[in-house]
């Protein structure tokens, strides 16, 4: 029960934080002088295309860009009625992309869940690789196993991701017949879900997961190793040995359990790092994730599009930290009881 209340409380603070983030995001997308439309109008005027100007002016009014900034924010959020009544983020209307001339939701559509998919796969990969390797490296510290793991880890950290991507594509295609680029075979794009499509996506996921996850995994592995080594020096480990435990079982039950905390706390940091870190990789690999869209939108000052993408990344981060906070409370009685009494 206690934990449910905490989760609810944590969810509440997350929503508040999200509100704050929205203010920040709105400020950021309005930081560059002018906006997409006024830039366009100036350009059209300069080239003498008065017809286009009328449409742009219409859009300006349509999206309340002629209003003061604070009103624009509230209209964007859906807290104040715009030209068409309440119609903002809260109502599920994410705005209009001027660059692509389509609603934001339509552009982002598929890439939203593909982003989630790619990053979840990468996070899973990070944890599945880092956990056993980190523990092994700590248990066998200063042996060949440790050094080999560290060497591979540093290689993973040091190799530029896009280079790794190109290499993997080349050899993967040549020897394993793995597909190159994209997240599914072209014939499935825009098709409804089917087993064939899922299979195609999974096969296409292999290389991106590996590429995006390697550096995270090696960093995480080193951190887990360091944490484990700290814990292994603690007296309670000796106590466990003195009881007559087998080393492997002792390792799992005691030091790993304690070293696990930072590991869990990292979930929150991992998500945004991956989303923003995978932009370049996504461009190189031709993944239809949100990264390239964000890059494009920021370059062309497509404010509603970039605003939405930024909000989405923030949401992912906040969800990640919320999950890790709740997990930590479940895992560590010290955190759980601290709030009760001293």
């Amino acid at each position: 029960m206690e934990i449910l209340r905490y989760a609810l409380y944590r969810f509440g603070t997350m929503l508040l934080t999200l509100l704050l983030v929205s203010v920040l995001v709105f400020c950021i997308i309005n930081l560059p002088p002018g906006d997409f439309l006024s830039n366009q109008i100036a350009e059209l005027r300069a080239t003498g295309q008065e017809a286009g100007v009328a449409k742009a002016e219409f859009l300006r009014r349509e999206y309340a860009l002629d209003k003061p900034l604070w009103q624009q924010y509230f209209i964007w959020m859906g807290l104040l009625p715009g030209p068409h009544g309440f119609s903002g983020m809260l109502q599920g209307n994410f705005g209009w992309s001027f660059e692509f001339d389509r609603p934001v939701s339509e552009i982002v559509g598929d890439s939203l869940w593909l982003t989630v998919l790619v990053n979840l796969a990468a996070v899973l990969f990070v944890y599945l690789v880092a956990l056993p390797l980190g523990v092994l490296a700590a248990a066998k510290s200063r042996t060949m196993i440790d050094y080999t793991a560290a060497f591979i880890g540093y290689l993973g950290l040091a190799t530029p991701n896009f280079l790794l991507a190109l290499i993997l594509f080349y050899y993967g295609h040549q020897y394993l017949g793995l597909p190159i680029g994209g997240l599914m075979a072209p014939e499935y794009e825009g098709e409804p879900m089917s087993w064939e499509k899922v299979r195609s996506i999974l096969i296409h996921l292999i290389v991106p997961t590996f590429v995006i996850g390697t550096s995270g995994a090696s960093a995480m592995m080193q951190r887990l190793r360091a944490n484990m080594l700290d814990e292994l020096g603690k007296p309670y480990v000796e106590t466990a040995v003195a009881k007559g435990m087998r080393p492997s079982r002792m390792l799992m039950k005691y030091p790993l359990r304690v070293a696990f905390n930072p590991f869990v706390a990292d979930i929150g940091n991992l998500l945004p790092a991956m989303v923003s870190g995978s932009v370049l990789v996504s461009v190189v690999l031709g993944l239809q994730t949100i990264g390239p869209v964000l890059l494009q939108a920021l370059k062309s000052q497509d404010m509603f599009l970039s605003g939405f993408v930024l909000m989405f990344v923030a949401l992912l981060t906040l969800i990640g930290t919320m999950i890790s906070d709740v997990l930590l409370v479940l895992l560590d009685p010290r955190i759980r009881y601290e709030s009760r009494d001293t």
């Binding site: 603690k234 007296p235 309670y236 000796e238 106590t239 466990a240 040995v241 003195a242 009881k243 007559g244 435990m245 087998r246 039950k253 005691y254 359990r257 304690v258 895992l331 560590d332 009685p333 010290r334 009881y337 601290e338 709030s339 009760r340 009494d341 001293t342």
Partner: protein, 604 residues
């Protein structure tokens, strides 16, 4: 009788270096206690860990045999085992099952994330003794035996919910639950308060008598040896200096090193000695420091903002007077408020309204109110009052050379002429090093090049750099070996007399205080319960808590064992004190002068 465990010719080394333990032999019989005594670095801990082969990875047993006698009952454990040679698997069967171990730091020797019940019952599961339900029954029984009032609750608790003494009881339960033949206790009570130590030692002795197990007790404290051991081994630098039955050795140590240890051990004087004449017995006392009605309440904020915060009284109505050139000691166990009182005296902590601290830099000067000073006055006060900290290992910056550490106070207070400031500071630092007995060519070294005792000398030198009038010493010797402790105390006395310093001396150790103090205040839970000069306090203690503290102090004298009854009564709740001292809740009786200079908190 055949010994249960006999260690013969044991040597342990790290890599190719000289062995750290050389040709050590000892043996222990069932029902008997063997004490291994030595200072830090003597190899006592590593020798006893070698028995269970719990050694750092780089350590090697280079020679020797460790024979654990078999039970001779035709069962699995019938034959003799050489612990130095059996396989890891056989060793695991011995660990926790036939030989159990208790470690020094109960705070850190239990996993913080697992419930006590889980950690203790694990021993039974590991050795495949019993079913789940039977294991729990045995563990609960064991909890009750070691003195947990509510075993079920202990079973569900996490270590951080228990006090230090209770955690050590949990450790003892963990060691005892499988009914081992031998218990190895590595400094089991060093981290505990003295009354708790007495009770834990008493418990261990009782358990030994009940079960007939053998015990190896590793300790630095000859007092503990005198109370516990039948056999004793004195170690120094990896070698055995003296070994044999405890009583003759304690009565008449033969080896010079053992004698040295004895002489260094601070003792509570048994017969009244004339107090040091401080020349301040007259009517107008020249007080350098005065605490008046000092009360300090801390607010413990609970994590939830809507629940009421808890108030904790760290100090309650503390009145203290420190005459110039003397030492006032505050004695108490952890949580008694002694350190808070010291911090208040230095102005590092505020006081609750109504209390004040007065400081007089020179005789007859106007008193300074420590908690009501302007910035400039505060700086001037800080020059006059300095502190020596408890832990010499963490109170010196490892990245600063000694010269920089020593001259930092001078820089902060901007003393010395600007022209040749550096040279001035250097001279001053060299002078102070000389004063504390260190060679002056050590100025350019870093702290890691110094031993614990040398570091504490450096801390004292640092405190003296500004030529203060008052030193607050917060347990300055508790992290040190006895022989070093002795030297530091002598140094502090010398400096006090040579420079007319006044000390406010905080300690948990009555024996240390007995030696250095002119006046002792005993604190318990924020209140002074008794105050007198040491020669009065130790020979005519009135308050049950003072009596308990004195009784609990292990003395290296086989004829003066710890009186557990006195300890239990005085260290218990105030409701159980004798009539004259008893109180409940906040209604403590006042501190009344029984004789001139002897104040006791009691009903008159």
């Amino acid at each position: 009788m055949r010994p249960l465990l006999s260690v013969e010719d044991l040597s342990i080394g790290f890599g190719k270096d000289n062995p750290v333990v050389r040709n050590v032999s000892f043996s222990v019989a069932a029902g008997e206690t063997l004490a291994i005594v030595g200072e830090s670095g003597s190899g006592k801990t590593i020798s006893c860990r070698a028995i269970l082969r719990i050694l750092p990875r780089a350590a090697r047993l280079t020679c020797g045999r460790m024979i654990l006698a078999g039970k001779g009952d035709g069962g699995d454990d019938s034959g003799d085992l050489d612990l130095a040679r059996i396989s890891e698997k056989q060793m695991r069967h011995v660990r926790g099952n036939r030989i159990a171990m208790i470690f020094q730091e109960p705070m850190r020797s239990l996993s913080p994330l697992h419930r006590i019940g889980n950690q203790v019952s694990e021993v039974l599961h590991l050795h495949g003794r019993t079913s789940e339900a039977e294991a729990k029954r045995q563990v609960l029984e064991c909890f009750e035996r070691v003195g947990f009032p509510d075993p079920e609750r202990t079973w569900r608790s996490y270590p951080f919910e228990l006090s230090g003494g209770m955690r050590q009881r949990a450790m003892i339960a963990m060691a005892m639950v499988a009914k081992p033949e031998l218990l190895i206790a590595d400094e089991p009570t060093t981290a505990l308060d003295v009354t708790t130590q007495a009770q834990v030692l008493g418990l261990m002795k009782e358990l030994q008598q009940e079960t007939g197990m053998a015990m190896i007790l590793v300790t630095h404290d000859l007092g503990v040896v005198a109370n516990m051991a039948e056999q004793v081994v004195v170690m120094h630098k990896g070698r055995v200096m003296e070994a044999g039955a405890a009583e003759p050795i304690l009565r008449a140590p033969a080896h010079p090193y053992t004698q040295e240890l004895f002489n260094a051990a601070p003792k509570i004087p048994q017969h009244p000695t004339a107090g040091r004449d401080t020349g301040t017995k007259g009517q107008d006392k020249d007080l350098i420091l005065e605490l008046k009605h000092v009360t300090k309440t801390f607010t413990l904020r609970s994590g939830k903002s809507w629940s009421k915060p808890t108030l904790v009284r760290a100090c309650e109505g503390v009145d203290l007077e420190l005459p110039r050139g003397t030492t006032l000691a505050i004695v108490g166990e952890s949580g008694s408020g002694k350190t808070t009182a010291a911090r208040i005296a230095l102005g590092a902590e505020t006081v609750d309204p109504g209390g004040e601290v007065l400081f007089r830099a020179t005789a007859g000067a106007d008193p300074l109110r420590v908690h009501d000073m302007e910035r400039a006055a505060r700086r001037a006060f800080q020059r006059q009052a300095q502190m020596v900290f408890q832990d010499p290992y963490s109170s010196l910056s490892p990245r600063q050379r000694i010269l920089d550490t020593l001259s930092e106070p001078l820089e902060i207070h901007g003393t010395g002429s600007r022209a040749n400031q550096r040279a001035d500071h250097r001279d001053r630092a060299a002078e102070m090093l000389g004063l504390v007995g260190l060679p002056t060519d050590m100025l350019t070294r870093f702290p890691h090049a110094f031993s614990g005792g040398q570091r504490q000398r450096l801390s004292i030198a640092r405190a003296l750099m500004l030529d203060p009038k008052l030193l607050v010493c917060d347990e300055p010797t508790s992290a040190l070996d006895v022989s070093v402790q002795e030297q530091i105390l002598s140094l502090l006395e010398e400096i006090r007399d040579a420079r007319q310093l006044s000390y406010l001396f905080i300690s948990h150790d009555l024996a240390v205080v007995a030696r250095i103090a002119d006046e002792v205040a005993v604190m318990r839970r924020g209140m002074i319960v008794e105050q007198a000069p040491p020669e009065v306090l130790f020979h005519d203690p009135k308050h049950p808590y003072t009596k308990a503290l004195i009784a609990a102090q292990p003395v290296p004298d086989v004829d003066r064992p710890i009186n557990l009854k006195l300890v239990a009564q005085g260290a218990g709740a105030p409701e159980n004190w004798p009539e004259a001292f008893r109180f409940a809740g906040q209604d403590a009786p006042p501190l009344v002068p029984l004789d001139p200079g002897h104040k006791v908190r009691c009903h008159v």
